[in-house]
Point group: C2
Chain length 120, copies 2
């Protein structure tokens, strides 16, 4: 049982769109990720997904609107809702979602898909 | 679907040890709480519990050690582990735990027990 310092963990990596597992709670994982540029449109049919911005700002595009998250703000994207994360500048975020949820959801598997996540 | 600004939500209340529900993800809840002084020793037999400090610092006492959490740090207290949160000065934290988990766990129900949580 060890505490996690978000800034220290985030200083350990620089790659974008590649979530790292920083903690586990029941069957859920607390992940840290750095974002910049465009992700892909996708949805998670069976899982809600929380995005909380730790440093910077990011957009989450939906089919009919876009929500901008700044540092200290979070959004829960409900299961089944198509979304596309985007960050103009480098942004660090904490994710909370059920273990096993694949980052690209129902989108065709591609370069951004991460199935095995590093633990930090 | 609305984003949550932690600082704005925390500005809406001042009472201590009374978690408010700020978001829901599957069967889990994201709660915000202000702490000061001593809580009670307790454990949650069936649920892990995450404490993340948003502003200030807090201690979580265990039977054989104490962990201090500062702003930007989190700890997952595993199910079944006795703990006692404590904060010398006012501290704001985000909690993540399964819906229905009672804040005082297996401790005798008392003044600090909260069964119905306000949504903010």
């Amino acid at each position: 049982m060890e505490k996690v310092n978000l800034a220290e963990k985030l200083a350990q990596f620089d790659d974008h769109w590649s979530p790292k597992v920083a903690g586990q709670l029941d069957d859920y994982e607390i992940k840290l990720v750095k974002l910049q540029g465009d992700f892909v449109w996708h949805k998670h049919d069976d899982a809600d997904e929380m995005f909380m911005v730790v440093d910077g700002s990011m957009d989450i595009a939906f089919r009919h609107k876009t929500i901008t998250l700044n540092t200290g703000e979070f959004l829960v994207v409900p299961k089944g809702v198509e979304h596309k994360p985007y960050a103009e500048h480098a942004c660090s975020a904490m994710l909370f979602e059920r273990k096993g949820v694949i980052n690209t959801g129902d989108a065709e598997e591609g370069d951004l898909t991460r199935r095995q996540l590093e633990r930090i």
